[in-house]
């Protein structure tokens, strides 16, 4: 008989550990009456406004919570109050339906993948113009300063050699329709970086002595490397990488964070892999930029392949066997893949 169920259970007064075996009854008007099961005296009598139902969860009784802090818990864990709204039962219903669980198994990874791979990079690209130039200046200057203090030493290249590099740089800057304006090229000796080049978000580009020496007789290859670095600045990759990594860290922290740390290890490696994946995508973008601009400057894309080949022999980089697994850990795409990209552009 709905509306006047008599439910046996346990009653606790507010902030009291004393247990009373009790019977609860809710009248059709919503008035709650709880009487002791042993001596039939009334333990509690409350209007509909002064009590509410606890959360509905599988395998657990739905308690009645009173405004003064008292609680009534039905003995039967499976009992559901007829007065419970369907909204209150909604979550538990979804959590126990095969169909919704199956939908969650299929949709959760798909949506996550879509968010990480498409939505967040898109958002990052859209958000980057909102970042003021002064912030990018800050980012560039501070990083540059700390690198100068630690791993960069003054260049030991001869003056004519330096001038040659600067000439290629100036030529590229003048002939290309670039969006950013404060490009500056610096030469440094660095045992830490070896033959390498990198760009900072404020347009600072650093090339190491070793790289200049390595590409000494291939000026176009050096130009290709410079263009690749300009590509990073034009694409505002530093800011985007920060935005995307932050997004990914937040998504995983909120969805999977576990105070007990059982999943932290798995997630830790996961986000490191993601960061590398973001970085690889941006390297590819910068490669594409370099190849296009080489063409625009009337140079052959093979210059890019030359630079990569030279770097490959210098660093003794990845070979066939290891590549399959290690490529997920690397911040750069496989060098062979990059050379192939460049040679493909040749035949286009």
């Amino acid at each position: 008989m709905p509306g006047s169920h008599r439910v046996t259970g346990q009653f606790h007064q507010a902030a009291s550990s004393t247990l009373y075996a009790a019977v609860a009854e809710i009248s059709p008007t919503g008035r709650l009456n709880i009487i002791s099961a042993t001596d039939k005296r009334s333990l509690c009598n409350a209007a509909a406004d002064d009590y509410r139902f606890g959360t509905v969860l599988p395998g657990l009784a739905v308690e009645l919570q009173l405004r003064d802090g008292a609680v009534f818990v039905p003995d039967d864990a499976g009992f559901r109050w007829p007065q419970l709204s369907s909204k209150a039962k909604m979550a538990a219903w979804l959590e126990s339906q095969k169909l919704s669980i199956l939908a969650a198994i299929v949709l959760s990874p798909l949506l996550l993948w879509w968010i990480i791979v498409y939505a967040m990079p898109m958002l990052a690209v859209a958000a980057v113009p909102l970042v003021p130039d002064s912030v990018k200046q800050q980012m560039g200057q501070q990083t540059f300063y700390s690198l100068q203090k630690t791993v960069l030493q003054p260049t030991e290249l001869a003056a004519p050699e330096q001038a040659a590099v600067q000439y290629h740089w100036q030529m590229a800057l003048q002939q290309l329709p670039l969006q950013q304006s404060n490009y500056k090229l610096y030469l440094y000796k660095s045992d830490f970086f070896g033959a390498n080049a990198f760009a900072l978000p404020d347009g600072t580009v650093v090339v190491t002595d070793d790289l200049v020496k390595l590409l000494h007789d291939k000026p176009d290859a050096l130009l290709a490397v410079l263009l690749h670095e300009i590509g990073h600045v034009e694409g505002q990759h530093s800011v985007r990488l920060v935005a995307q990594s932050l997004g990914a860290a937040l998504v995983f922290g909120i969805l999977f964070g576990d105070p007990e740390g059982i999943a932290d290890l798995v997630l830790g490696s996961g986000s490191a892999l993601l960061q590398s994946a973001f970085s690889r995508d941006m390297e590819r973008e910068a490669d594409q930029f370099a190849l296009q601009q080489l063409k625009a400057l009337g140079k052959s894309p093979s210059a890019f392949a030359d630079a990569m080949t030279a770097l490959l022999s210098e660093h003794g980089d990845s070979d066939d066997a290891s590549a399959s697994l290690l490529k997920y850990l690397s911040s750069h795409p496989d060098t062979r893949e990059r050379i192939e990209q460049a040679t493909q552009q040749l035949t286009d």
Partner: protein
Amino acid sequence: MENAFNTDTSLPQQAPARLGKVAFSGKAGEFFGIWMVNLLLSIVTLGIYSAWAKVRTNQYFYGHTRIENQPFRYLATPMQILKGRIVAVIVFALFFVLSAVSPALALLLALALLIASPWLIVQSLKFNMRMTSYRNVRFAFNGDYGNAFKHFVLLPVLAVFTLYLAMPWVLKRIDQFVYGNISYGGKKFQVNTETGNYYIAALVTIAAVVCVVIAFSVISALAVGATAFGTDSGINGVFGLSTVLFFVLYFLVFAMSGAIYQTMIRNHLFDNTELPEIAKLKSEARVMPFLWLTFTNLLAIVVTLGLAYPWAKIRKAAYLASVTTVAVYPQADTLADQAQQDGNAFGEEAVGLFDIDVSLA
């Protein structure tokens, strides 16, 4: 269970304790549905529902954990959790962006966080304890900022200067600070842990890790030798193989050190913690079963790409409950917490801005 009902005639001090097993009745299948559906809802609502998910998950685990057939209850509301998360997200994002934009400012913020962290820890402990109830009586945390700063910042920093030799003692002090400041029904827990046990636990853990690392190095050296001879591109094969081996080793060491230390310290801590005249704890976890459980849990999560997480979490909770007993004294049946009685139970939602659990997870 009948004897749990109140009878005022007994003599509280003299009466013998009842031995209560901790029972856990959560089911992996049920929790899988909860976790999976909540995950989807959290993704679809851009993380907002995750606050509801956390409350439901905690309510499920608390409600299925019983002593003398009486469940624990988790009382926090999703809105309280949501507020804590918003604060955590802002702080985290600020720190993340600042460390990218300006390392100097990030250092300043890190310093500010270092000073604020004891306060955040105290707030979160207070919140989480107040939101935990057993037999309608709440727990409470009474630690203050000064002592939290001493235990979570000062002592660990000083331990660095002893080359971490004092670290087990610091960990003992931290546990004493945290658990010794918890109270239930107005009575404080008494923690009588011994420094020696923390040193033994640390030494055993380190010794086990060293043994595993040595054994692993020998095995991988042999394996690497074999591959190098077997293939043309030996060097690269070796590189790939050692990367995989390194990850396996990392997992093994992570699972092992945690299992050994946690088992030993949990047993010692529980056996020496009591709520005077109300309850006395006992933990009889064993290293090998718990190590096996931790390791297979991790393995299952990795192999199933995360789908085994609910099963692993239930399994761990069930094991820890099964090795825990509580001696309950009759006085536990007649507790009344004066501090908690006044006020409006429905007014909890309108708590202060910082009465929250600041945490991403």
